[in-house]
Each structure stands twice: as structure tokens, then as C-alpha cells.
């Protein structure tokens, strides 16, 4: 049976726009909900959950559509793309849309108990509203086919994210300085990005991605302005995706934001920025141009390698669990950049695959860490003692995701690391194989430390009584275990994710996209 036949037709014609407009509209409605009582907060949660679920269904439909019929294009307001704003969805960004919406859905389930514990009641409705804006921003910057529109949504999602991070202040005041730090860095990144877009506009006179690519192909290659634009865009996006050493905003933001925000951001935000980097480097600029190829190889792969090593080492010496995982995220971004920097189909597949897989495992890990805090107020590694006994199910989910992060066979982490090792070997980059192996060992140490604390130390005693078992609520366990189980299932049978990654790599290795697709909606 064809799943797409279950959807009404308007989903395919107006899906790209709905995906972004719906959460934006709902954000306004959610913000207007009464926020003085608990009912309002509950209602806001329900609205938000409904929105993300609908978005997930839309994203799934779009992915199916892209797989079976090729790229989807949408003209906003009926204005044809080179003049109006066009949305463009192909095999490269459709999986990211699905990833963001699915992770969003799982995190929303988790949000009910988590937000109730971490955010003041009067601010909850506004919190959900800010989340929806951030969610819409992420979807918008992935779905749009207009370079300036990317900047707009980048800012929409970033500014609301700063708010979300700062909301962690009721739990830990350091959230405020972290959010401020994030704001400064994020603004610098966005500024660089928009300067780059400005240079592109100066060179090509257009803002539509496909149109830019066409003009550049016609003969803007050797221009200094093009190079300048590329440099600004790469650095701006590098900051957003936490490329080493531009990652300094990330550990603080992840460590002190509300658990729900961390879980959502860790799994999606850097992935959306990485997608943009891929989109700009491969399908707008041309990787066969010398300076693009050299920047990809030396800057992305080089910084990826350094980041893998340094951030893994930093993760080992952290005391705060979320900082350990945050530094590990920086290291994992390095893996993805390494794959991308190879510029071969295998390397791109591996990098893209790792991006999808990393979202699954990091999402699960941060959800579990949030549950530890929810039950026992645990933030430090040394406080994890005895969690294997006191929260067995949560800890088991954490362990599965942790093993996957290490790259134990039978988990998603192994699949993408193996793909990466193969890609590096095929490229003749033996030193990269060595670094992957070494950083995997470092990952054993920093994840092993956490698991060791939980399973090999007795639970602490209060007075004379050992702390009793106190499992996380079901609303936390369900998303955690969905992610943990998918980490195993997709690790054993990786065909689906691999085919998605291969399709994306196929788009990337096809060079710049200069033709508008035929399937056009929005009239």
C-alpha cells in the first residue's frame, strides 16, 4: 500500500508552506492563551504538541513525495521563484525536515513533566510559544529556496532560542550568561552570513538559490566577490553549527538551558546549520571550484579533525554531565565535517548519515539526563552513583544511546562510524582512520565514566536508608525509549537511513542545481 495515497492532495501542493506557517500562527495563538493558571499551560502544551505532530506528518508526506517524484518547489503567494520567494525541497533537506519534526514531537511529549518542573507556571504558555517560533524558524531555514529568506529564518529561530536558553535561569542562574554569550556569538554568525548573502547579491543580482547557482555557473567563478561571499557564509554557518573553534557558545547553552530545550537543540539546531553549509557549498557554489574544494578539505576536514580530538579530551575532564555531552557534540560535529570535507560520495553519505544518527543518540542522552535531574536533581557526574539501581529503565536507555555514541556494533553509531572509516580509507586518508579510532577510544572513556558511576557504585544513602528506586515518569520514558530502540533497530537494519543519506549525497555530488523543478505548487 502506498502511504502517500492516505494523504489529501493539498498536503503535497501546499505542504512546504504549511510546514512553516502553521507553527508560526500557532505560536501567536499559544502566546495569547491565559497564562495565570495551570490549565492555560496545559492547553498551550496541547496546542504545541498538536502543531508539531501535524508538522511531522507533513514532513513525512513531503519526504515520500520527494522520494517518489523528485524535488518539490513552492511559490510563496503565487509569485514565481526568481522574483518571489520559492520553497524548494529535495532529497537533501526533506530528511532534515522529518528529523526536526519527529525530534520535536518526541521532545514535546517529554516537555510536559520536564517543563512543569523547570519553568515557572506563568511563563509556560510563553515558553511554548517561543519554542514554536524557534521550531518554525528551523523548518523555514531548511525548507526555503531563497538565500535571504534563510537569513530571516535563521534569525527567527536563533532569537527565540536565546529566549529558550535563558528560561533555564529558574533552575540555574548561569543560564543567563550562557544565553547572553550565545546571543553574542549567534549574532556574529548571522551577521557574517548576511554579509555573505549581500556579496552574492552584489555579484549575481538575485537571491533565489537556483538562480544564484545559474548566474554563478554562467561566469561569476573567478570573481573576488564570490570568494568573499563564500568565506563569510562558511564562517557564519560554521559558528552556527559549532565548528571547532567557533563552538564556545555551545557548552554553556546546552548545560544550563531547560532539559527539554537542550534535548531539542542538540538533536536539531546544529543539524539545520550543517544542512545549510552543505546546501551552499555544494549546490549553490560549486565544489569543483578550486577555492571551494580547498576550503572544504582544509577548513572543514581539518577543523573537524582538530575538533574531534580536542573536544573529546575536554569532554573527559568535565564534571557536569550535560557539559560532557555538549563537548561530545562538538566532537561529533567534527565527524560530520570530516565526512563532508572528503567531498566524495562515500564521505558525504557518511557525514550525512552521522548527522541523522547523532540526532537520535544525543536526543536520547539529553532526555535521560533531564530525567535524572527531574527525579534526583542530578547534574554532576559524581552524583550519578547508583542510578542503575534507582532509575533502571532511564539508565538503560541512557546506556544504549551512550554505547551508540561510542560506536558499539549493533547501534546506529557503529553504522555511521564504519561508513566514515570506509570513506576515509577509500580516500586514502589513513591518518583520518587513526583519528576516528583514537576519538572512539576517548568516547569510551567519557561515556564509560558516566556508565561506570551509575552501575558500579552503590546508590547514596540518606540517613541510614539507601535511596529508593524512583523511575522517571512515563512521558519521559516513552520518548527516551523510542529513540533508544530506534538507535538499535536502525543500527541493525540501516538500509532506510543509508538510502536517505545516499540520496542526499547523490544530490550533493550532482553539483550546483540550476534548473527549477517541474512540480510547482502555490498557484
Amino acid at each position: 500500500m502506498n502511504i502517500t495515497s492516505l494523504y489529501p492532495q493539498w498536503v503535497f501542493t501546499h505542504g512546504p508552506a504549511l510546514l512553516v506557517v502553521l507553527p508560526l500562527m500557532m505560536a501567536v495563538i499559544t502566546a495569547l492563551l491565559p497564562s495565570k493558571n495551570a490549565v492555560g499551560a496545559k492547553l498551550a502544551w496541547l496546542f504545541t504538541l498538536g502543531t508539531v505532530v501535524v508538522c511531522a506528518l507533513l514532513a513525512f508526506a513531503l519526504l515520500m513525495q520527494v522520494i517518489s517524484h523528485g524535488p518539490v518547489s513552492y511559490a510563496m503567494g503565487g509569485w514565481e521563484p526568481p522574483i518571489g520567494i520559492g520553497y524548494y525541497i529535495d532529497a537533501l533537506n526533506a530528511p532534515i525536515l522529518l528529523l526536526i519534526t519527529v525530534i520535536g514531537t518526541l521532545c514535546m511529549i517529554y516537555a510536559l513533566p520536564s517543563i512543569a518542573a523547570e519553568v515557572e507556571p506563568t511563563k509556560r504558555a510563553l515558553f511554548y510559544s517561543a519554542f514554536l517560533v524557534s521550531f518554525a524558524g528551523l523548518l523555514g531555514m531548511v525548507a526555503t529556496g531563497d538565500a535571504f529568506n534563510v537569513f530571516v529564518f535563521l534569525e527567527v529561530s536563533s532569537i527565540s532560542t536565546y529566549v529558550l536558553v535563558a528560561m533555564g535561569a529558574s533552575r540555574d542562574r548561569r543560564a543567563l550568561t550562557s544565553a547572553y554569550n550565545y546571543l553574542m556569538m549567534g549574532s556574529i554568525g548571522a551577521t557574517f552570513f548576511v554579509i555573505g548573502i549581500g556579496f552574492i547579491y552584489m555579484q549575481t543580482g538575485t537571491l533565489n538559490m537556483i538562480d544564484i547557482a545559474r548566474v554563478l555557473q554562467d561566469g561569476g567563478v573567478d570573481s573576488r566577490v564570490t570568494k568573499l561571499a563564500f568565506a563569510f557564509i562558511v564562517i557564519g554557518l560554521g559558528l552556527k553549527l559549532a565548528m571547532f573553534p567557533l563552538h564556545t557558545w555551545l557548552p554553556g547553552a546546552y548545560a544550563y538551558a531547560p532539559s527539554f530545550v537542550t534535548a531539542f537543540l542538540a538533536a536539531t539546531a546544529t543539524k539545520a546549520a550543517l544542512y545549510l553549509l552543505l546546501r551552499f557549498s555544494f549546490t549553490i557554489f560549486d565544489p569543483s571550484w578550486d577555492f571551494v574544494a580547498k576550503s572544504l578539505m582544509y577548513l572543514l576536514a581539518g577543523m573537524g579533525i582538530v575538533g574531534m580530538m580536542v573536544a573529546s579530551l575536554q569532554a573527559i575532564f568535565q564534571n557536569d554531565i550535560r557539559r560532557v555531552l555538549a563537548f561530545s557534540s562538538v566532537a561529533q560535529v567534527g565527524y560530520m565535517l570530516l565526512g563532508v570535507g572528503m567531498v566524495t560520495t562515500l564521505g558525504l553519505t557518511a557525514g550525512y548519515l552521522h548527522m541523522l544518527n547523532h540526532a537520535i543518540m544525543k536526543g536520547a542522552l539529553f532526555i535521560a539526563v533531564g530525567a535524572f535531574w527531574y527525579r534526583f536533581g542530578i547534574t554532576q557526574v559524581s552524583d550519578m552513583k547508583g542510578l542503575g539501581k534507582t532509575m533502571p529503565l532511564t539508565m538503560a536507555g541512557f546506556t544504549i544511546a551512550g554505547l551508540s555514541l561510542i560506536g558499539v556494533p549493533g547501534t546506529v553509531g557503529f553504522v555511521s562510524k564504519l561508513a566514515l572509516v570506509r570513506a576515509a580509507a577509500e580516500n586514502g586518508w589513513w591518518w583520518a582512520v587513526g583519528v576516528i579510532v583514537v576519538t572512539s577510544i576517548l568516547a569510551i572513556i567519557y561515556i564509560g565514566r558516566l556508565i561506570e558511576q551509575a552501575y558500579f557504585h552503590p546508590a547514596p544513602k540518606i540517613g541510614n536508608k539507601t535511596v529508593a528506586k524512583n523511575e522517571a515518569p512515563l512521558a519521559m520514558l516513552i520518548p527516551l525509549w523510542i529513540l533508544a530502540i530506534s538507535a538499535i533497530v536502525l543500527g541493525i537494519n540501516a538500509e532506510w537511513t543509508t538510502s536517505l543519506a545516499e540520496a542526499a549525497a547523490h544530490v550533493l555530488s550532482g553539483g550546483p542545481i540550476v534548473e527549477f523543478p517541474h512540480a510547482v505548487g502555490g498557484h
Partner: protein
Amino acid sequence: MINFLTSFSPAFILIAAGIVAAFTPLYQGRKFLMIAAPALVLVLINIMYLNGDADGALGGYFQVAGIELTTIRIDNISIIWGNIFAFAGILNGIFGLHEKCKITDTSALIYTGAGLGAVFAGDLITLFMFWELLALSSVFIVWRGGKESYPAGMRYLAMHILSGVLLLAGAVIYGKATGSYEFNNIGIDAPGGKLMLLAFGIKAGFPFLHNWIQDSYPKSSVTGTVILSVFTTKLAIYALLRGFAGTEILIYIGGVMTVFPVFFAVLENDLRKVLSYSLNNQLGFMVAGIGIGSSLALNGVAAHVVVDILFKGLLFMSMGAVLHRVGTAKASELGGLFRTMPLTTLFCLIGAGSISAFPMMGGFISKSMIIAAMFEGHHYIVFGMLLFASAGVLEHSGIKVPYFAFFSHDSGKRPKEAPWNMLVAMGIASFLCIYLAWPWGGEFVGFKGLYAMLPHDTTTGAAEFHPYTADHVVFQMQLLMGAMFAFTFLKRFGWYPPERRAQILDFDWTYRRLGLNLLKWIDAMWTRLGALIIYMLKTMFGRIGTRLYHVFSPAGALSQAAPSGIAAVFTAAMLAALLLGAYLF
């Protein structure tokens, strides 16, 4: 039903049984799984083998990351390991019937499954996956040994993960160079060959890589040691035989492996540790046999694996029974136990006779094959080492273990006889030790039955071998009598090293002590380096001006995180670098 059960690697049946056992609250249910699952697998692999063609039964194809995996390859070599592994699984199940530990049951089943899966792996990636699973599942068994076993288990895990990483690295290099991940003869000169040899060597207990055996096995629980002694090292022997048969350096490595544990074993007080050393020594015979690589030698290795699993398991079981009843396996605290544990004594003596290769007992029919092949291969120095080691085996495993545990001076301890299930397991192993060496009877009775299983024909051709010839028997008896005379002589005049509580420093001291200190040093240096960098940053900004310093290094909460100012400088620097690059190229 049979078709379905034979369509995937039998390892998964055991792994599934292990997972079910983890959620089975009743220990009777788990015990049933412990015995039934390996028994089912034993039947299945033989059905699969008989249905296979000349190359053996291939199947269980899988696609992972673009590589086709062959998870089933049951041919005339892997079936030997498969049979004895599954059989040992059953014996371990019986031996552990009295124990009510969920973790041991679960990990023993998964461990057995991983061992079988690795033996039946047709390609290097599958081998690697089960290789790692083997390490991960077995470390829990090590950890059941109590407090002292925890750091030992960590060291064990570190060694085995390292081995897995080396294997994967070697496999990727090899697969890249040859375009095939099939697990056949690799050879030391193949790309990645040395890495894989090192990986196998760690598991096989090559000299200087061997310490994890003596470190972790004696520290595990009563049943744990018995289970551990079967799979890991014998799997490594299998992998070496597949990949590196006829690699000359293995002859010398094997020779060294047989000789050096003798000295440690004679001095050691903990009898389970003595057995761990003798395990190492037996592995040496196998490694040397693989090094020769002739059909006779490989037959000898295969046969020796089968009997070694039986008699080494038997010896560990008997010491386990002693530990279970007395609470210690230290020679200095045992003695005179034969009065109340007569059956255990008998079984231990049979095991001791087998490992010492007395004619009519297990070791004789296999070890003599390897020694004969060594002689035929004209490796006289190693031949001499093997003879010395054979005498040494008699000394420490054949005489020392039963003598100090059951006879010697009376310790005054009067423990009960071992539990019935242990006696049954030991009885079966003892019976097979004798049966597999039985010289009389028809074509498939006694040792001829074992020989018929071997990969090369032993009745004619290059691998022709008859163990019970006058010169073999007489030669072996001379050797054994000489060794026994030496023990008696030394003991009589009080020159034999007395059973003492002492720590023996083996090579592992270097990496335990040195490695720990090195890590501490790196940790301290890392902290210091961090402090130094912060100090340098401070002075640098101090020179530019205190005002800048106040901006970039806020006190309190932000002192850990890098201030956004520094990050902005980084960003600008990277942009400058990129632009410079774009300008120059």
C-alpha cells in the same frame, strides 16, 4: 521450523536466549535456557553442516553500510569449534546449575553466542562484531568475582577493546586493498595483516600481551572462570588458524608461550592462577602448530582445541568446586581434601593426567600430533622447547594442582563433596577426556572418532598419524617419568618452591603500575597545561590593558566558559585565514 532456524546464524539463538534470561525472574527458567539453548544450537549446526556442500554451509547474508556480511559459514574447520563450543556451553550450564545469578546466566549465554557467531563468521566485519560482543558480554562474568575483580575487569575490557579496534583497522585496510572482506587466509604480509595478527595475538595471549588471562580469570566467580576459560582464547586460535596458518613467526611465538608460564606457574600460590598460566602454555602449543601450518600440525591444533577445552574446563571446574566448598583456592591453605571430596579428587586427577598427556588420556592424542609435526618440520629448537614445556605442564598442572589441593600436608579442612551438578559436569568432561583417547574399538570409537572430525585425513597421506605406536608411548612415558622424578626429588630434599602467599610480578606490572602513573601524569599535565594557557592569556591581555582584561575574563560563572569576546576573535581570525587562502589560491 528447521528451515527457519537454520536461516540465520545460530549465535542469535543464544543471544536471544540470553536476553530472555535477563527478563526471566525464575532461576529454574534461566537454567533451562542455559542448557537447552546450546543443546539446540549443537543440533542445528550439525544439520546445517550436513546439508552444506563441499565448501561448507554458507548463509545468513546481511547488508551493512554497503558491505555484504556472511554470518554463517559452517565448514570442516569451523564445525569443530562450533561443536565443542556448543558442548562446552551445555557443560557450563550444568556446572552452574546451583548458582542463582541473573547476570552470569545472561552474559554466559550471550558470551557463548558471540563465540559461536565469531567462529561461524564468513567475513571480517561479522568477525569484528562478534569479537567485540565477546569482550563486552564476558567482562560482566569477570566482574561477578567480587570487589577485587572490578579493576581486573576494566583492564580486561581495555585489552579486548584494543584488540577489537586493531581488528577493525586491519580489516578495513585489508578490505580496501583487496576489495574483499572475506575471512580466509590473510597472511602477515597482506595489507593490514600485522594489525589483525596483533588483534588475534592479544586474545590468544601472545607473550607480553598475555597478562589479562592471569589477571582476570582467577578473580572471577566459581562458575565464571569455567565459562571464561572456554571461548575467548580458543576463538583466537581459530582466527589465527583461519588467517595465519603457516606464518613462521608463530612457531617461535608459540614456543615462547609454552615455556615462560612454566616458571610463573611453579611459583604461584593461587591454584586457579596456576591453571591460567597453564592455559597460556597450552595455547602456546596451538599457536606453534598453526605456525608450522602443515596438514598434520593443523589437525593437531584442531584436536588439541577440543581436548583442551575439555580438560582445562575440567581442571577449572575441580578448582571451582574446591573454591565453592572451602572458600579459597590458595595452595597454602589447602591440602588433604581427598578425604571428603574423593570424586572431585578423581576428576581433577583425570584432568591433570589429560593435560600432562598421559597415554590413554586426552592430551596425548592431540599434543603428540603437534610435537610430531614440529619434528617433521625440522624446527628442533622449538621442538626442544615444547618438550621442556610438556614436562613443565606435568610439573605445575599435572602434579602441583592436585597435590597441593587434595593431598600434601593436611590442612584440617573437611569440606563436603562438591554439589551433584558440578560432579555431573566434571564426570561428563572426565569421561570424554578418557573416551576421546580410547585406543581400541571400531572406526568411529575413541580417538578415531575425534580424528575423523579433523579437517585432514589422518589415515593416509600427509597428515597420517597413529598416536599409539610403541615409540610414541615409550617416549611420552620417559618424559613424564622424568618430570615426576624431578618433582619427587625436589620435594624430598625440600628444594621445591614452597606454597607461599606471595605476589608474583609478571610483565603486566609495567602497564598496570606504569600505565596508571602515566595516566595520572597526563591528567596532571593536562590540568597544568590548561592553567598555563589561562595564565598566558591573562598576562597577554594584561599587557594590552586591564580594561580589556575585565571585558574578556569575567569572574565567576563565566570563568569556565570561553567569553564571547575571545570567540569573536577566533571567528575573525578564521575568516581572515580563509580569505587569505582564497586570495592566494
